[in-house]
């Protein structure tokens, strides 16, 4: 036994006060599929944690075999007992086992210590870096902030993705849904957003929480590695409830993520929580509900599946200055089947959130990445949070792209096009190229402003379409080499004054002269 363990034991003994309070108890009468039927527990309350007494009849040596105490969560109260979901291995529970109430609701640890760590849905470390020493326990289920405690969303959350920051801006405290079929880049957008937060000014970087629900462990490991490689793990917490985890943990994981985030929000910090994805959480909740014998409704989901998501997403908030001014931004992800956004869960979450980013598989297959369908995507509150600089360059972008999409479909039937239409199509194609972005390469806000300014002022009008992205890269290299102060000024002031615009025009002219090969 090492010295730290001895010290820990001494500390525990010194702080130990015998507790001989009366506790409610019950007996396990049936167990299966992670659900336990308990007889007794007359005073149990919904959402209460119960402790399974595995030590009964065992001597101390056998009772301390290195496994953590086994808890359950009461989810059904019945006439003679209760039904609870197990927060651990079902095989550890047997019929006749005593169950004790704890009088506690489920809580997870949160705090600075968790930054850069990977935890499970109960807050237990999964990365082998040891337990948390100074964590604060936060209740997993908590009432969302009230009307008085909130204020309007005004601060932008830069995703680093040109198409989003320009046309579907997200504000801090907003709930923006990312929706699309499988393999259309939903997680990529979320991860790029997390990575992009490193570009924020000192002290403005939000704490990021990535909640993986029902994902493959390999995918979560890859994401953790990607975040580490991009120096983004230091301000990120990963909550992992993989596909192999019990349904109860997959159901709880988003709430745990929200609880961890609320600690930082309550302390005046900005938080970004990604729920990847809520369709899997809904499936896990459906499984639990059916096992708990709750009446099934549409698509066998229980009647309160809307409340499951609404109470989770309602915890996203932009708190008033009196409450510390913290924010919690939620980016829930929903996977659709064959592009059908009219499914039960997608429509529920669309109606709860403040907008959605719709990813289209046909755009993805055409090579338009991120495959955002601008026509269907919307941000209901984000425009109030958009910076002046971005507003000035992105004002007409959405309309131009929508017109281009219309003309593009019309062009498939038309033989001859007039000059104005042909020019608009050419311009639209270039704009689509400009909005394309590589995976894992979010662009700082000031760089986006420069690129979009150049695009809407026809800087790339003479550039062959297949060279637009090359021209964009060279433009940024040109600005990094010759106009760093200019970029810093945009970053600082977040506005494009007339003077700055003039300087920008001059710089773009110099760039065109320096790279004549790109403009034919």
């Amino acid at each position: 036994m090492n010295n730290s363990t001895v010290q820990k034991i001494i500390k525990e003994i010194e702080s130990y006060t015998p507790r001989t309070s009366v506790k409610q108890s019950g007996v396990v009468t049936a167990v299966g599929d992670g659900v336990v039927l308990i007889d007794g527990l007359p005073g149990a309350v919904m959402g209460e944690m119960v402790l399974f007494d595995e030590t009964r009849g065992k001597n101390l040596e056998h009772a301390t075999k290195g496994v953590a105490p086994l808890y359950g969560l009461i989810l059904n109260l019945e006439e003679d007992g209760a039904r609870a979901v197990l927060l651990g291995d079902t095989a550890r529970v047997s019929e006749g086992m005593t169950v004790e109430s704890t009088g506690r609701v489920l809580s997870v640890p949160s705090g600075e210590e968790l930054l850069g760590r990977v935890v499970d849905a109960l807050g237990n470390p999964l990365d082998g870096k040891g337990p948390f020493k100074k964590a604060t326990m936060m209740p997993v289920e908590r009432e969302a902030s009230g009307v008085i405690d909130r204020t309007s969303v005004t601060k932008p959350l830069q995703t680093g993705i040109k198409a989003i920051d320009a046309m579907i801006p997200i504000g801090r405290g907003q709930r923006e849904l990312i929706i699309g079929d499988r393999s259309t880049g939903k997680t990529t957008i979320a991860i790029d957003t997390i990575i992009n937060q490193k570009h924020e000014l000192e002290g403005k970087c939000p704490v990021c929480i990535y909640v993986a629900i029902g994902q493959k462990e390999s995918k979560t490991a890859r994401i953790a590695a990607q975040l580490r490689a991009a120096d983004a793990l230091s301000y990120t917490i990963i909550v992992d409830a993989p596909a192999s985890a019990p349904a109860a943990l997959q159901y709880l994981a988003p709430f745990a993520g929200a609880a961890i985030g609320e600690y930082f929000m309550d302390n005046g910090r900005d938080v970004l929580v990604v729920y990847d994805d809520l369709s899997k959480q809904a499936v896990a909740y459906r499984q639990l509900s059916l096992l708990l014998r709750r009446p099934p409704g549409r698509e066998a989901y229980p009647g309160d599946v809307f409340y499951l998501h609404s109470r989770l997403l309602e915890r996203a908030a932009c708190l008033s200055e009196e409450k510390g001014g913290g924010t919690l931004t939620a980016l829930p992800i929903i996977e659709t089947q064959d592009g059908d956004v009219s499914g039960y869960i997608p429509t529920n979450v669309i109606s709860i959130t403040d907008g959605q980013i719709f990813l289209d598989s046909s755009l993805f297959n055409k090579g338009v990445r991120p495959a955002i369908d601008v026509g269907v995507s919307v941000s209901r509150v984000g425009s109030a949070a958009q910076t002046k600089a971005m507003k000035s360059v992105a004002g007409t972008l959405r309309l131009e792209l929508a017109q281009f999409r219309e003309l593009e479909s019309f062009m498939q039937f038309a033989q001859d096009l007039d000059k104005a239409t042909a020019e608009r199509i050419e311009s639209g194609r270039r704009m689509v190229e400009v909005l394309k972005q590589a995976n894992g390469a979010p662009m700082p806000f000031e760089a986006q402003v420069v690129v979009l300014y150049a695009a809407i002022h026809k800087t790339f009008a003479q550039t062959p379409i297949d060279k637009v992205r090359e021209a964009e890269a060279k433009l940024m290299a040109f600005f990094d080499a010759h106009h760093v102060s200019f970029l810093e000024e945009i970053k600082k002031t977040k506005a494009l004054s007339d003077e700055l615009k003039k300087k920008l025009d001059d710089a773009l002219n110099r760039f065109q002269k320096a790279h004549k090969e790109l403009f034919v």
Binding site: T5, K8, I9, K11, E12, I13, Y16, P18, R19, T20, S21, V22, K23, Q24, S25, G26, V27, D39, G40, L41, P42, G43, T55, G57, K58, N59, L60, A63, T64, G66, A68, P69, T98, E100, P131
Partner: protein, 128 residues
């Protein structure tokens, strides 16, 4: 289904119907509905309810040693929580408790055993 019939039978007896009359009424009703074959299963369900109710009403005092007078004295003070006198409590010896006492029944438990105290220290040092 048999659980519901057994529950009804239990309530009939609790409400003052004699056991023989209650069983006869139940049997006649089942026969009228062509469900007399359920009777053995109802009997087993009834036994389960009876044993459960008995377990609920029984209060058990567990101690590590038979003549642990100190533990017994301490436990006596807790009898009032369960509304029981000294003679109403079943005493058991559970050596795994190491010392102290544990009182359980009627859906409640008070654990003042040494084993519980040591396990609390162990769990606090190991898992928190």
């Amino acid at each position: 289904m048999e659980n519901n019939y057994a529950q009804a039978l239990w309530q009939m007896v609790e409400n003052g119907t004699t056991p023989a009359r209650a069983v006869r009424s139940l049997y006649e009703m089942l026969e009228r509905h062509g469900r007399a074959a359920l009777m053995p299963r109802i009997a087993r369900a009834f036994l389960r309810i009876a044993s459960r109710e008995q377990a609920r009403s029984t209060v058990v005092l567990s101690m590590a040693r038979e003549k642990d007078t100190r533990a017994k004295q301490e436990a006596k003070r807790a009898f009032v929580t369960f509304g029981k006198g000294e003679g109403d409590v079943v005493e058991r010896i559970d050596e795994t408790l190491i010392g102290g006492w544990r009182l359980e029944g009627q859906g409640q438990v008070i654990d003042a055993s040494f084993k519980k105290a040591l396990l609390d220290v162990y769990n606090g040092a190991t898992f928190q």
